[in-house]
Amino acid sequence: MKIGVFVCHCGENIGKTVDCATVAQRAAKIPGVAYSVDNKYMCSDPGQNVIKNAIREKKLDAVVVASCSPHMHEKTFRKAAADAGINKYLCEIANVREQCSWVHDNIPDATDKALDLVRIAVEKVKRNIPLTAIRVPVTKRALVIGGGISGIQAALDIANSGFEVVLVEKEPSIGGHMSQLSETFPTLDCSQCILTPRMVEVYQHPKIKLLTYSEVEKVEGFIGNFTVTIKKKARSIDEEKCTGCGLCIQKCPIKKKAFNEFEEGLATRPAIYVPFPQAVPNIPVIDRSVCTYYQTGKCQMCLKVCGREAILFEQQDTLVTEEVGSIVIATGYKLYSIDKKPEDSEIKGYGEYGYGKYKDVIDGLQFERIASASGPTNGEILRPSDKTQPKKIVFIQCVGSRDEQKGFSYCSKICCMYTAKHAMLYKHKVHDGEAYVFYMDIRAGGKMYEEFVRRAIEEDGVKYIRGRVSKIYRQNGKYIVKGEDTIAGMPVVIDADMVVLATAMVAQPNASKLAQTIGVPYDKYGFYQEVHPKLRPVEVSTAGVFLAGACQSPKDIPESVAMASAAAAKSLVLFGSDYLEREPTVAVVNEANCAGCFYCLKVCPYNAIEKKEVKNKLGEIIDYIAHVNAGLCQGCGTCNATCPSKSIELIGFNDEQIYAEINAFSESFV
């Protein structure tokens, strides 16, 4: 076997601490090495040509490139080797940058170590065999979880490219938080007006299968081949028969009992309801926890008035399964509910702000509903307690955000902008009103964002006070807001009529459960973790699963939409080919040896080990042995190390190869 060794200087990155020319000279003496050379930039085109030409001219069988981490350029060099006609798995990388030059400063020692690393790689490559990539078919169909603006955007982008989409939404209607908003920054266009056409487009799209009031129960399979089980919660309505006439909603005797989620508790709704007039689909749902029929067995008013006999009191939850190739998670966020301290949580809450105790101390989404033309006050700014117009209003930013003492260390990112918007909307509707904003910093990075905040301050006369509020209490019908003006260095007391708290954006309460169902990592706050914060922002470590919107971190609408389109594009990349190529470096079981102890099954982090039946000549099952699903296996080697009878081999990293590497390394001590 003729092996070539190529030592890269990586400019000064390696060359500064490793004497690359010496490494190349000494590597030439390793048995089996037929050619060795160093180069300033091996990854450059001329550098790659050095490798290609050497393979052709010297008739090399295998190559070792001493360079940066294989994460960086293994693909590059393997492709170069393949272009020159050798199997790409006969190209190995000796990492002499991250694991040598960057962490040492003594040139002779670092040079010795670099040579050791080269020798190890040479011994391994001698035992490498040509491999072929595994090909798996791709189901060209996507699942989108969450029907807010991110999910809608991702679903439409994929569907408009001609691929089928299953869109799952846990609420009775799609639309998400954006459907609750009054106007949107920085252009102040009406949220519903720009959103509802998209919602209708989703509903009417021939390629989109919409499952509302449904939740993902189980996800099996792997990239290109997921099987998803979805629970359709019982609506108590026959979706085929219902025309959405709304008569049942009008006649429902329960008007003032049920908490109206869409109006954030500022209004009530009947037991049978659609969340809002523009709901998609326009099919009601019965809230069984308040419906008289489910409580007492009497009433059935909705059934009596329904001309289509669409009410199904006995309807049960059903499970449906869908085959998809990719999954886009767009489950969004919740607002931090500051009146409740979650049990066993380190979050301490803001009892001193009186949220939950005082009706006129509200959060940002509640203010959106008050400012919205379709809201409980028809867009008039009226305070919840007595429906009077507040003449003095205080907005407090960073309630829970950027507060390690009582909340979360992260910035919720959108609050500076929406608070400016709120204050502006207030001033537009209450001309003689005074609006105050307590802030820590104004973070208005974004196109036309800073200008928007300046407009609130300069044109609309909103008074910005830099400082925190220590306490809010009620006195003589006013809400006394005590805070500090840190620029003036003085305490401030404002007797407000209403207070709006910009509470932190937090992950959905069941975010971790869904993450475990799908196999998505999440951070300590429950936000989903991307693979790389800069270069792979929409991918997660489970291949074929992508993120969109605020489920990954707090985001505004423009960012969510951009991310959704990115997640859609990633799905489409997957759907661009009929087969997926996967690394052949997976585990295989030596079936003759396997004793069926299934320790491997217990340790496998990817659920890639299956039980395979062993049958006798009569076709009777006599035993079970382990079998590796090559589609799921990530080649981590855990099963390989665990197997007590050495019956599992990791292709490309078998015991012989590993021992050869260790032996080569131990030579340096002799």
Partner: protein, 290 residues
């Protein structure tokens, strides 16, 4: 029940009615108090404003004295003493360097296992039911504003007692006497504390706000658990009256005094006659003796 007792300077001087009433009430509740022998100043204000080591070492000495008397629990009725004792213990246990310094000053190892408790915590341990069963005079006609001040519940990480922003433990104990407690806004606001000596103007203003809010919310009496708060809220009412002639006086009682009234003790036994603001009307409301 036996509990260690650290009276501190106030309870032997300006707040001696707190000491009188507390000892009588606790004996009715079958709690024996054992005073620490040879206790010294807790270091409040003067020490912690001038010398950090001294402010930690003084309470440490008192804690070690309690340790030597084998006291599991040490009652510090004064909120400032409570805060110094529990705060010093917390600091020493979280700072090895400081511990060494304190041990050098004390000339002994610091290994206090005594739990420092305040008056509300002691009454919680006695139990609401026990208090209820001994009530002789129902206080159902009076409305009480419970004032915690700044030190009783803070810093929360150290005291680990009640809610720093909206404490309710005192209200809960007082409900055993039948008295009503009012919702008000100034229960943890600063009364001005030790500025009483140097900046009377600040203390007068801050105390007035507290008294006003209690009255505005319908309270007949303010109940405190700190001699410093008591002297500011009780003694400064004359100065407030001078500056704001419309000010109407409101009596300020120690928690132990209010419970004492409910348990049938008279005003003199509890030292209520020693206050600046007359509480005679209040006692008449519940038909108790002065």
């Amino acid at each position: 029940m036996i509990v260690g007792y650290y009276p501190g300077c106030s309870l032997t001087g300006t707040g001696k009615e707190y000491d009188m009433s507390l000892r009588k009430v606790l004996s009715l509740l079958d709690v024996q108090v054992e005073e620490i022998n040879d206790w010294c100043c807790c270091g409040a204000t003067s020490a912690h404003a001038t010398n950090h080591l001294l402010s930690v070492a003084l309470p440490a000495r008192n804690l070690m004295l309690a340790q030597k008397q084998n006291l599991n629990e040490l009652l510090a009725p004064c909120a400032a003493c409570y805060n110094r004792l529990i705060g010093s213990k917390h600091e020493i246990s979280h700072n090895a360097d400081l511990k060494k310094k304190v041990e050098f000053v004390l000339e002994e190892d610091f290994n206090s296992s005594t739990e420092v408790i305040n008056i509300v915590q002691l009454l919680q341990k006695v139990g609401k039911e026990k208090i209820k069963s001994l009530v002789k005079v129902s206080l159902k006609d009076i409305k009480v504003a419970c004032y915690y001040g700044c030190l009783l519940v803070r810093p929360n990480a150290v005291t680990k007692f009640d809610d720093a922003e909206n404490p309710t433990s005192m209200e809960d104990i007082i409900s055993a006497t039948g008295a009503l407690t009012v919702e008000w806004n100034y229960k943890t606001e600063c009364c001005g504390g030790a500025h009483s000596i140097a900046r009377k103007d600040i203390v007068t203003f801050l105390s007035k706000n507290i008294l006003d809010d209690a009255k505005l919310n319908g309270a007949h009496v303010i109940v405190v658990a700190c001699p410093m708060c008591h002297s500011n809220l009780d003694m400064r009412q004359r100065a407030i009256k001078k500056l704001y002639p419309s000010h109407e006086e409101i009596p300020v009682l120690y928690l132990s005094e209010l419970i004492g009234i409910a348990l049938g003790l008279n005003g003199k036994e509890l030292g209520i006659n020693l206050h600046f603001v007359d509480a005679i009307n209040l006692l008449q409301m519940v038909k108790a003796e002065m």
